[in-house]
């Protein structure tokens, strides 16, 4: 009971956090005309003063370089997601608590954007000792994912995965007290082609996942405009 209450409170505070982050993005960004349509940048930012005294540059947090292996045994890196928008989560195959619910919600996202090659999914295992490549492949196939290039189920060393979890705003840690041995949040992170996080959603909350489904097209639109401008 307390758990569901807690989750609800968390969901609400995440929402509040989301809108709080959205607000400064609206007020400080003076260039775009469709300001409200632009997703916020999540994470720490660095303000770098310019030598010529002009307006300072804002540098947003970016996902660090990574090297993972997916369920087909293929190496995947940041380049795998070049020019794409992708959504991440952290799970493990034998997770008895939140993962099935979380993955069924991510499956909803997958199904909705199945026909759109600009959108990729990336699930990281936080139990690399158990979740070998065959285990990940079996998991993906049982979930109905035949095409690894659209939804990667990836592994790496324990340390790399946990560092990435922090980068993607997911709380994950070893905890012998909880069923399955790992405590982790069911956060989904939405990442843009510049490796910046543009949204964090509670993957356990269908309303939050709906918000992701609603916001994803806004990001795709922004990416399309940027790609057009670059040409």
């Amino acid at each position: 009971m307390t758990f569901s209450f807690l989750r609800r409170t968390l969901g609400v505070s995440l929402l509040t956090l989301g809108s709080a982050l959205l607000l400064p993005a609206c007020t400080t960004d003076t260039t775009a005309t469709a300001e409200a349509e632009r997703l916020p940048f999540i994470g720490e930012r660095e303000i770098r003063p310019r030598a010529d005294g002009g307006p300072a540059d804002t540098l947003y947090a970016t996902i660090p370089a990574f090297r993972l292996t997916n369920q087909d045994g293929q190496v995947i890196t940041n380049d795998t997601f070049a020019g794409k928008v992708y959504i991440t989560d952290f799970f493990f195959a034998t997770c008895p608590s939140i993962c099935p619910k979380m993955q069924s919600e991510l499956l909803r996202v997958y199904t909705q954007f199945k026909g759109d090659p600009r959108v990729l999914l990336l699930s990281h295992t936080i139990d690399p000792a158990h979740d070998s490549i065959p285990v990940l492949r079996d998991y993906a196939q049982r979930l109905g994912i035949q095409d690894a290039s659209r939804w990667h189920f990836a592994t790496a060393s324990h340390d790399s995965i946990f560092a990435l979890a922090r980068a993607y705003m997911t709380a994950a840690q070893v905890d012998k007290q909880v069923p399955g041995g790992y405590a982790h949040s069911g956060a989904f992170a939405l990442v843009d082609p510049q490796r910046r996080i543009r949204g964090v959603y509670d993957g356990m909350n269908p309303l939050e996942v709906q918000r992701l489904l609603d916001e994803l097209p806004l990001l795709l639109q922004e990416v399309e405009q940027e790609q057009k401008a670059a040409r």
């Binding site: 307390t2 989750r7 099935p100 619910k101 993955q103 079996d138 979930l143 109905g144």
Partner: protein, 143 residues
């Protein structure tokens, strides 16, 4: 005091699960549904639908009728290894039930599953559940 607390806690659940207010006044009503929502629904789904070929369904699952005699022990001890439900093979770990769940709570949970989502399974009595549990070496519950 504890009754009031359980009512407050019930109200908190109410927000999330959308249960009726009567849950506050008759503590045991819908206990099976509440336990299902907190302990089982994340994997087996709010409607007992399961998840693809990963998590077996409970709704209209032939497994429930074929293995009726073992269901209490399955809940109490969990399950590991392959099993077939409605002709589909599954192979996941089902964790053992929370050790705080009493025989009567397990009974309410089983009966919720047996009578939900189109299931028309034969319901259990508490003594039947206790007998099943003793049969698989679970120490009788004194509560």
């Amino acid at each position: 005091m504890s009754r009031r607390r359980s009512c407050v806690a019930g109200a908190a659940t109410l927000l999330g699960a959308g249960l009726s207010l009567s849950g506050c006044f008759t503590e045991r009503q819908n206990e099976g549904a509440r336990i299902y929502a907190t302990h089982c629904a994340n994997c087996h789904g709010a409607q007992g639908e399961g998840l693809q070929r990963l998590i077996p369904p409970l709704a209209r699952a032939d497994y429930l009728t074929k293995n009726r005699a073992n269901l209490a022990c399955l809940l109490r001890k969990g399950l590991q290894g392959p099993l077939v439900v409605n002709g589909v093979e599954f192979n996941q770990v089902m964790p053992a039930a929370d050790s705080h769940l009493t025989d009567s709570q397990l009974t309410n949970l089983l009966n919720f599953v047996q009578t939900s989502w189109g299931n028309q399974g034969e319901v259990f009595t508490i003594s039947e559940v206790s007998a099943q549990l003793e049969g698989c070496g679970v120490v009788p519950d004194s509560r």
